[in-house]
């Protein structure tokens, strides 16, 4: 497909991508992690830090959809009988609330529960991929790699929460598999400001050892340069 490569000013250098072979990945923007009154807040975390991710991510999601690009959502969670939850994850540190316990928005981290689903502002559209993952990484024990290969995806725009846990683990997995990752700094969030900064710095360290980091405005600027005709070529698959 003869589409122009987009360029984004990023750290540690220019990130280039072809919209036809790039997916936006939105990691774990689930009610239980992000919303007031959810599981994350009951653990004493300031969910305001994660709420701040929603407005810029809404813009990124809208522009990505308008460009006809692939959108992938992930959710961390387990089947209701918890048979896919390792004992170490379930019992570690004697938590006051365990996975599977009844929380303020349903059973904690259990698939199908209200709190496990994605916030309304970023709800998936029909036809968008939703990856349900039992771990922090989006590749382990999921279909993600197969879906990317079938879709011809080679680059990922990575967003979501939390930066140093699920976002970082997914970027590390993707990088080892040869995918180019651009992390949008303001579209990722952490309960801990020091880890937000350290997590982003680690990605771009040593010449971009895991990938690239940029503010979402730089990505949106790149998409703006995509003409409607080019978008059509992307979505129709013309020009092969």
């Amino acid at each position: 497909m003869a589409t122009d490569r987009m360029t984004v000013d990023a750290d540690p250098g220019t990130f280039t991508f072809d919209p036809a072979h790039t997916a936006l990945v939105i990691i774990d923007m689930q009610r239980d992690f992000v919303e007031p009154g959810g599981f994350g807040e009951t653990l004493g975390n300031d969910v305001g830090l994660l709420q701040a991710v929603i407005p810029p991510l809404q813009q990124v999601l809208a522009a990505t959809r308008a460009a006809g690009m692939t959108v992938i959502h992930t959710r961390e969670g387990h089947v209701p009988d918890l048979s896919d939850c390792p004992p170490a994850k379930l019992n570690r540190g004697n938590p006051s609330m365990r996975i599977g316990d009844l929380g303020p928005k349903g059973r904690i981290l259990v698939r199908g529960e209200y709190g496990h689903d994605i916030v309304d502002e970023l709800a998936p559209l029909p036809g968008e991929v939703v990856i349900d993952k039992p771990g922090k990484g989006s590749f382990h024990a999921t279909d993600l790699q197969e879906l990317l290969q079938i879709g011809g995806i080679t680059s990922l725009i990575v967003t979501g929460v939390t930066t140093e846990v699920c976002v970082h683990t997914t970027v590390r997995e993707a990088n080892d598999r040869g995918y180019e990752c651009l992390v949008l700094a303001d579209c990722t969030g952490s309960y801990f400001p020091e880890f937000q900064a350290a997590g982003l710095a680690m990605i771009a360290a040593q010449g971009g050892i895991f990938g690239w980091v940029a503010p979402s405005t730089q990505y949106l600027t790149a998409l703006d340069s995509l003409s409607p005709a080019a978008v059509g070529a992307v979505t129709d698959g013309e020009g092969n």
Binding site: G13, A88, K136, H140, E173, G207
Partner: protein, 252 residues
């Protein structure tokens, strides 16, 4: 409590128990104690290219004193693991000589920073299997019978037989040493944690090219009740290792 120097290897081999280890954020492991037979010591990427004079990291201009800092404690941990009968695993990051397992972006990035994988370096072709720079440094070298994992990425699980080896040998708990803390050690710990292994990273047996990344990586492990496991020292593990007879006295 007996420390391993006063116990002969034969007295405690295949019978020692480990834990609870004084660790952050909880006494490790989560299930109280674990048999040495179900515990693996994984030593990550102690290669000349990363911590030897003239290797890849040295050539990139980093202070290899930082990546070498964990060698003495790792050598002590290795001796202990061998004495109590743990499975010992060594990993090496590297690529086949034809570079057919080297993703294009990894090659491009290494070239950007002046240390292109596959190019001639002071210790042979950089990060190519079989080259002098790819070998494990003598201070923590493998002995016959130990597992060697050759990995093309940062994580030791991706595109390797590590998970198969650990499950086949009945390993449920993992101790981590190696370099660098924030890159290959952390990636491997995250992969192991997602696969259900109970992990302990040994702070004095790791190191990074930047001290700030080392410190941040260790702190990340401890948040949210131990999101990836725990952090402890080599000596804490040694101190928490008991011979079977002591375990029997405790009614195990």
């Amino acid at each position: 409590m007996s420390l391993h120097p006063v116990l002969s290897a034969t007295a405690i081999a295949h019978a020692a128990r480990i834990g609870p280890v004084v660790a952050d954020p909880y006494p490790w492991p989560y299930d109280g104690t674990v048999s040495a037979e179900r515990t693996a010591l994984i030593c990550i990427d102690w290669q000349v290219d990363f911590c030897g004079p003239g290797g890849y990291v040295d050539r990139m201009g980093y202070d290899i004193g930082l990546t070498r800092a964990g060698l003495p404690a790792t050598a002590r941990m290795l001796a202990h693991a061998r004495a109590v009968g743990m499975l010992v695993v060594h990993t090496r990051e590297g690529h086949t000589p034809d570079l057919s397992d080297l993703p294009a972006n990894k090659r491009w990035r290494s070239a950007q920073i002046g240390a292109e994988i596959g190019a001639a370096g002071p210790r042979g072709r950089i990060l190519v299997r079989g080259e002098p720079g790819w070998q494990i440094v003598p201070e923590v070298a493998p002995v016959p019978g130990e597992v060697l994992i050759d990995k093309p990425g940062k994580g030791a699980f991706y595109a390797t037989q590590l998970d198969l080896v650990l499950r086949t040998t009945g390993i449920t708990h993992i101790l981590l040493t190696g370099i660098t803390t924030d890159v290959c050690v952390h990636t491997t710990m995250r992969e192991a944690n997602d696969r259900g292994y109970e992990c302990l990273i040994l702070s004095d047996c790791t190191g990074a090219t930047e001290q700030g990344n080392h410190t941040a990586a260790l702190r990340m492990v401890t948040m949210q009740g131990g999101v990836f496991g725990c952090v402890a020292t080599c000596d804490a593990v040694v101190a928490a290792t008991r011979a079977a007879s002591e375990g029997d006295h405790r009614g195990d």
